[in-house]
């Protein structure tokens, strides 16, 4: 609720104005049946006055203006609030750590940014003001009813507890069903999402029937819950209608008797008939609104959770003018990295090799400060890495991840991602270093070719070369490669490496690779197994001293002889 207040605050004036306009609209709405009743009574008593009709006309026109003004104003406020909330959440998420995104899950963040904010927007645009209008409508009609006939008004008030009872009873069931719907929807979304991501797999394995069956189950669940909801509504509406009609019967019974006895005019009774609808309508609407507002409050809590999430990342102040060394001391991360030690100094090429799942990628994530270790220290130039400005750090250290992540947009934009101010010549230059220029030149639109959301129109090797070019564009002092050449043939790979060495002679290179050939010339090779560094040394040293390394090398030479 706090979030709602806070985000509404800058637009409070406009929102209050909208509320005032709405109240005017409501007052006119309440007054109209009374005025019309007056006209009929005037005719009945032969004292017809044109003034009343003119008044009605003026009120009708102003009701239109007030109503439209309030609707547009409140929609405007709601859009502003939603727009700001989205910006705030994105801003927050952008400042958060990778760890946070992993833990919160991208799926939840997406829902918060779309669904939840839409719920809040709807509450502001409609529901909150509807509460105001319903209350005024209720109060207004109560005052008028009391002024006409207190006895009849009293009879109507008896209906209120009955209506509340019906609403509470049915909404209790409905709220549970709404929650179930949300969960069923999550499942449906996941199935479709996976089905799209696995489009080729589904076709290759003729898994169509299996996928269809999977979705069928989710879909059935959704239908069954939906049916239950509809059936509850099927009871709710006629029941409410019945209560309202019950009120009508009572009014006509008692009111009719009064008319016959001369205590009430026909005009008053017919005004009462319309007021009955006017009076019960806000009560019914309040019932529905409370559900909507409940949903918005839950959503606001979820948005607030993200906005209030603690940023564990602390930026350093120390400027990083140039890189001299990077060291890991007894670094532990969950149960994946077990007291890992590692060093690299300026100009060195250091390689890490080891079996699948040994923790190599995670180690690089720690070096890049994507993840902070649970214990142990990361030293940059001999000082704890977190003392340095992350901005400087990012400008000096570049990387290529194992997954080839590219963004929507052109090839040019993708390579220039790290420095959007780069000239086209800069981009072509790094593309040449990464041996990507030739295949890019083969595209119809060359560097302006747009790549799809998941970069699917490119082959794995092409994507790897684009990410390499992107990494090189910022002219890094340290380059971290995570199995970045796995999809390249050895010749292309070696050409790229020698291009890099030629263009950036002082570059410090940290290279995780599977191929011994790719790392043989490294200053130092670390052998990693099951989260531990089991050996380090040059290729020649390890060939003599380390059994695992001998095995790896042997496995790659076997077929040559």
């Amino acid at each position: 609720m706090n979030l709602l207040k806070k985000s509404l605050f800058p637009y409070l004036l406009q929102y209050i104005l909208a509320a005032v306009f709405l109240i005017f609209t409501v007052l006119i709405t309440v007054a109209l049946p009374k005025l019309s009743g007056d006209v009929i009574d005037q005719v009945n008593t032969g004292k017809f006055a044109q003034g009343t009709i003119v008044l009605i006309g003026i009120l009708v026109a102003s009701a239109f203006l007030f109503d439209y003004a309030q609707a547009v104003l409140s929609a405007w406020v709601a859009e502003q609030v939603a727009y700001n909330l989205r910006l705030q959440v994105v801003d927050k998420v952008l400042g958060q750590t990778y760890q946070y995104v992993l833990q919160t899950t991208p799926a939840k963040l997406l829902t918060v940014l779309t669904n939840d904010i839409v719920n809040i927007r709807r509450a502001i645009a409609q529901n909150l003001l509807q509460v105001v209008s319903s209350v005024f409508l209720l109060l207004g009609s109560v005052v008028i009813m009391l002024s006409i006939n207190a006895k009849l008004a009293g009879i109507l008030f008896l209906l209120i507890p009955l209506l509340v009872l019906v609403f509470v009873g049915i909404f209790k069931k409905l709220i549970v069903l709404f929650q179930k719907t949300q969960l069923a929807l999550d499942k449906v979304n996941r199935t479709i999402d996976e089905n799209i991501k696995a489009a080729s797999l589904v076709r290759v394995f003729v898994a169509k029937t299996m996928e269809i069956a999977k979705f069928f189950k989710n879909n059935e669940e959704l239908r069954d819950i939906g049916t239950q909801i509809v059936l509850n509504f099927a009871i709710l509406f006629p029941l409410v209608l019945l209560i309202v009609n019950g009120g009508m019967v009572l009014i006509f019974w008692f009111g009719g008797t009064d008319v016959i006895q001369g205590n009430l005019t026909i005009g008053e009774l017919s005004a009462f008939y319309f007021l009955l609808l006017l009076f019960l309508f806000p009560i019914i609407r309040l019932g529905f609104i409370s559900g909507e507002i409940g949903r918005a409050v839950t959503s606001a809590k979820r948005v607030d959770e993200v906005l209030k999430s603690e940023v564990t990342f602390v930026d350093g102040v120390e400027p990083l003018t140039s890189f001299t060394s990077l060291e890991l001391r007894d670094v532990v991360y969950k149960d994946v990295l077990k007291k890992v030690n590692f060093t690299v100094s300026k100009g060195e090429t250091v390689a890490i090799i080891g079996p699948t799942g040994s923790g190599k990628s995670l180690l690089l994530h720690v070096l890049l400060r994507f993840l902070d270790p649970d214990s142990g220290t990361v030293l940059l130039n001999g000082k704890p890495i977190h003392e340095f400005s992350i901005h400087d750090l990012r400008a000096k250290m570049s990387f290529v991840l194992q997954e080839n992540i590219l963004f929507g947009g052109s090839i040019l934009e993708n390579i220039a991602f790290g420095n959007p101010q780069a000239t086209k010549d800069d981009v072509i230059h790094v593309a040449k270093i990464a041996e990507a220029h030739d295949f890019i030149s083969g595209f119809t639109k060359r560097y302006d070719e747009v790549i799809g959301e998941r970069g699917v129109t490119l082959s794995g090797g092409q994507k790897q070369r684009l990410t390499l070019a992107r990494a090189l564009l910022i002219k890094p002092e340290v380059l971290i490669l995570d199995d970045a050449t796995a999809r390249l043939d050895i010749l292309t790979e070696q050409r790229i490496i020698s291009n890099i060495k030629r263009e950036l002679p002082n570059l410090t290179l940290i290279n995780v690779a599977q191929k011994v050939a790719s790392i043989r010339d490294a200053t130092r090779i670390y052998v990693m197994e099951d989260g531990e560094m089991i050996a380090s040394g040059t290729h020649e040293e390890l060939l003599v001293s380390n059994f695992s390394y001998q095995q790896i090398t042997l496995s790659q030479q076997q077929h040559h002889d």
Partner: protein, 596 residues
Amino acid sequence: MIKTSYSLANTTKKKHESSQLKRMLFLYRYFRKYGGLLLLSLVLLLLTSLASIGLLYFFKVLIDDNLAKGDYSGLISTVIGIGVVSVLRSVTSYGRIHVVGLIGQKALFELRKDIFDHLQELPLQFFTENKSGDIIARVTNDVEYVNRFLSEGFIQLLEVFFNLIAVGIVVFLLDIALTQLAFVGVIFLVVFLFVQGTFLRKSTRRSLDENGSLSSSIQEMLGGFRVMKGFAQEGLIAERFIEVNARYKKASLLQASIDALSSPGLELITRLSILSILIVGVQRVIGGVMTLGILVSYWAYIYQFFQQVTSLSSISSNIQSGLAATARIQELLAMQTNIFTSGDPYLPKYEEIKGKVEFDHVHFSYEDGVEVLSDVAMLAKPGKKIAVVGPTGGGKTSFVGLIARLYDVDKGLVLIDDVDVREWDLETIRYAVSYVLQDTFLFADTIVNNLRYGKPDATLEEMEGVLRLLGVWDFIDALPEKLETVLEQNGENLSLGQRQMLSIARTFLSDPKIVVLDEATANIDTRSEQMIIQAMDTLMQGRTSFVIAHRLSTVENADHIVFIHESRILEQGSHEELMSRDGKFSEMYRKYREAG
């Protein structure tokens, strides 16, 4: 040859929107089979309307006959009548909402099913040309709008329509002159709803499309989070988001401003109509042409009449967004596969499939004029191992994709067992050919269910056998839940290498006749790879295999090597033949050896 575009964004831009009537008819298809129930609900609807009219009739009797004449016993019977009719009306409206609700949920179920099933028929291009966020939005978000269209739009429209006709007849009978006046009001209302509705539908469509872009932009930001952080480009991403966010706000605000006009606009026309009826009516009563009782009851009827019309405002909004969403769904359903199947397909017994693969002067392209494969010809004899080598981007993946008809050739023939793949039964061919794809994908499900993907009836023993052979059994056995371990989305609780091993196991479990490994071991360490290669020698027994890899060992083991370079098969033959030819391949091979 003109290639079909599968981009949904293109259809939108080209304004290929179907007409309103076509959209209605499209939705009607989902109700047709519930004819009986639909009729029942219409009858119930009619009864509800009649009951509403009946109530108004009693109201007239009450004022004109009972009250005006002071008839107390008449009053009592009228009030009882009102009570009875009220109960009847609630019962019929309960029945109607119940029946319509059931039909609606069933229809939505069918609609979602049809969309999802249709997605399974679409070719791969569809998924590469469209953003997944937008596709998902069409199956969920847009169907939800159709839901609202059905539950809070269309049926109510029918109800209003019935009521209007019924009340219209009554007021016409009561007083023709006043009804003519009311009719003018109705014309204004219809014009208003038509004009405003058109703008509303267009603005809703734009807002739905912008909503799709917003979701896609968020998805991209979260998916590329590390890259953004690592290049300190939060600012750039924020800038892009601000732009999309502002565009969505603008579209959404425009839509809201048009939508906001519905209720006040309808109220205005309604009230003015009622007011003019009141003015004319009063004059007629004063002139003695009309009794006050008739005016009062006429007024009550007409009030009821216009109240029905006013409820059109929310109905209209639901109908317009429902129709906008229907157009988006229809666009998706209109996409047709380009993988056509023969009317009389070749359907051999599975055991009889030999696995001979032949390419006969094949040309292939994804987009017009850019050939990915040109004049490709080769023959793979049953049970042989074919190595597909060459620089990345040369067309290797496309080449192997043609075997199981992931794509179709532009020119030339691909034959399996001497039969054109297009003559084959598509399912049989895809059962017979299995792939380990370059991009590993695992489902957020148990390891068992992932392994069973290609063969739903695979036994635990079979799985253990294959996993042991591949040398991954130990790592799975060490997991607390073993084979029942639930994988995270895309198996992210495993390393990439482990994911690749599982996907290899999955492929071999499906018992293919022809197996294609597309850089299947790129991220697996070489010692594990050794084990896998040995395992594969066993697993590949009796299967024709195509292997794309950069490692020399693969090439040396192969019976036949296909060297693809810049869309063409530059050289092919056995290792010895190619080496003795002293061409491009042997040059590359020597360089590899020196390098490795």
